[in-house]
Amino acid sequence: MLRKLFKFHGGVKPETHKDSSTTQAIAKAPLPALLKVPLHQSIGGTPRPLVRAGEKVLKGQRIGGADGNVSSAVHAPTSGTVIAVEPVLMAHASGLSTLSVMIEPDGEDRWIERHPIDLRATPADEIRDYLRDQGVVGLGGAVFPSHLKLKTSRTKPTRTLIINGAECEPFITCDDMLMRERAPQIVSGMLIMQHILGAEEVLVGIEDNKPAAVESMKAAVAAAGVEGCSVVAIPTRYPAGGAKQLIRVLTGIEVPHGARSTDYGVQCFNVGTAYAIHEALDLDQPLISRIVTVAGNVGQPRNYEVLIGTPMNELAAHAGEQAGTDAYIMGGPMMGFRMPAFDVPVVKATNCVLVSSPSLFPPAPPEMNCIRCGECAKACPADLQPFELYWFSRARNFGKAQEYHLFDCIECGCCSYVCPSHIRLVDYYRFAKSEIWARERDKEAADAARERFDFRNLRQEREKQEKAARLAAKAAETRAKLASDSGGEASQEAGEAPTAAEQAKKALIAAALKKAKQQKEGAPVPPRNTENLSPDTLAEIDAVEARRAAARQETE
């Protein structure tokens, strides 16, 4: 049974470096002394913290609730005590911090009560909500909430479900090892997804440099005994594991940028995600750990099952980190990001901790001028003309860059990889993309402000007219009254009433001003009603007092 496979344009064949980390089985990483679990771990809204410092948590307890539908919950990876909920340096190239829950494990690793749900009896909507609350996100690296991807298109039935086991990045072997060791569980998760999406066929795409994984998956699929399910070995060529490229290779369908693949009748999930879905639904275990490849400048590259929140340096130490390490790269050498520090936590997106050293990844030779040789265009899997995008991005000609489809670029790095002038092309695209996003944000904010300003002017105008009408009506009334009463006192009263109100208001403001002045000058007025407050609130009040004192000093 030979499938017709399709080709995608371009691609490169870097050395894979995958052998050394596949010699040993997946190991469980030891429990670290402190887990730092960031709340923001997926595309979408930042989950709300559900725990406070000092609280005890159980393994699998929800510590961050999904913020709206485009978000995903976060759970305690083990039982222990919450030390703090505070911003911590995140596993991101920016070096910024994000609100994280710090958990000190108690070593008992005690699970919260678990109740697997009956899939066949539960409607798809409820399963999706359940997955959101179990924190299941795409584990291939993009961490898009899985429950959103399990929605079928309104216009087209989902014909094909693709399970992505291509794993094209050099050094990374976590999917490979997962498929070798836990194929039946992956197949189980895969069948759940097939059930939800109603897909006719399921294709598991695996690069042909992983024969053991192909065999293992084939055996598991055969054991499950389901129809319309096949494991396909695809040619090894980076970036065959890109979702769009894999869909193209297996089905011939090209999903354009910004479109939902379900609108084209296909959907694609990583094998790790399939495994996580199996755990979340069949075992009621939320996503609290994942398989991470530790490779590069280490004595024994290996795959570990790691709790989310484990500091990367502890993990690297287990694998025998060697001297000369200059940074950790999260992800592979083609698309990974350099971490701002060594102790950043492992997150749901961490498929690989690549320990970098100058000898492993030597500094790039100096950039030379582009000679328009077209090597990048030959390598680009999105059929772009990278050098044109480079000229436009470099010249900050963002409109033109977008015209040449900048946003179809998947930042796979093939162009930079082949460039004989050693130009860091992808950096220019990242720069141009984030500039364009910033501009769009500014534009949206400006448009909103303009609208609100216009509306306010309109409202003021309307209020003025209404007031004038009211006054006119009142005047007419008074005149009518005057005409009937023919007395003088009434008119005087009507004239003075507003003045009195104004005076009262002025007196109030004056009193407040006096109070404020007192506060500024003399001893601060002690806050009242503080007897029955919690220590937290008291601390807050102290903080406010301190702030006020600081403000006073500043103004003086």
Binding site: S94, A438, A446, A449, N457, I509, A512, R548, A551
Partner: protein, 183 residues
């Protein structure tokens, strides 16, 4: 000679008619220039330019009554864009109207606020919520950072807080081209 004259006159007439037709049929409503200028302005509505809002300033620029370098929130980049649009020479921001500051939003110290509603009346974009004698607060997402609420506050409880960088707003830097002089 005569025929040449006739031909030229004929061409002139035909072209004139075509232009007249186009002027009537493809007429652009409104003043697109003012719209274009307005879309470059940051819509802070702060009035630092000396006009009561961004739109009036755009009108003034279009009519040549105001210079292009009077908008501090738009900054240097804004001046450049206006210069580009209008085909004028770039000039640095006029400091009489203020200097470019990092983007900020107003913040009300809720303990000090006396609920006088003066800031609510001053806010050009209705970004302050509150009622008389009740504490006020700023809707940070709608605040343009115009600082118009600072002056009216009788108890000085409003301060400007710079907006911090988040993962959503973080930007990749312009790639630095490092070529060392090899000699």
């Amino acid at each position: 000679m005569l025929s040449a004259l006739l031909v030229m006159t004929g061409i002139a007439l035909v072209l004139g008619a075509a232009l007249g037709f186009a002027a009537i049929h493809f007429k652009v409503e409104g003043d697109p220039l003012v719209e274009k200028i307005d879309s470059i302005l940051p819509q802070t509505q702060c009035g630092q330019c000396g006009f009561p809002g961004c739109r009036p300033y755009a009108d003034a620029i279009a009519q040549g009554e105001a210079d292009i370098n009077q908008c501090p929130p738009g900054g240097d980049e804004g001046v450049r864009k206006l210069a580009d649009l209008l085909g004028r020479e770039y000039k640095p921001l006029n400091e009489e109207h203020g200097v470019e500051k990092p983007k900020s939003v107003a913040f009300i110290d809720e303990q000090t606020c006396i609920g006088c509603t003066l800031c609510i009346q001053a806010c050009p974009v209705d970004a302050i919520v509150g009622a008389a004698k009740q504490m006020h607060t700023i809707v940070a997402a709608e605040c343009t950072g115009c600082e118009l609420c600072l002056a009216p506050c009788p108890v000085d409880c409003i301060s400007m807080q710079p907006i911090g960088e988040t993962v959503e707003t973080w930007k990749w830097r312009y790639p630095v081209i490092k070529i060392k002089q090899a000699a």
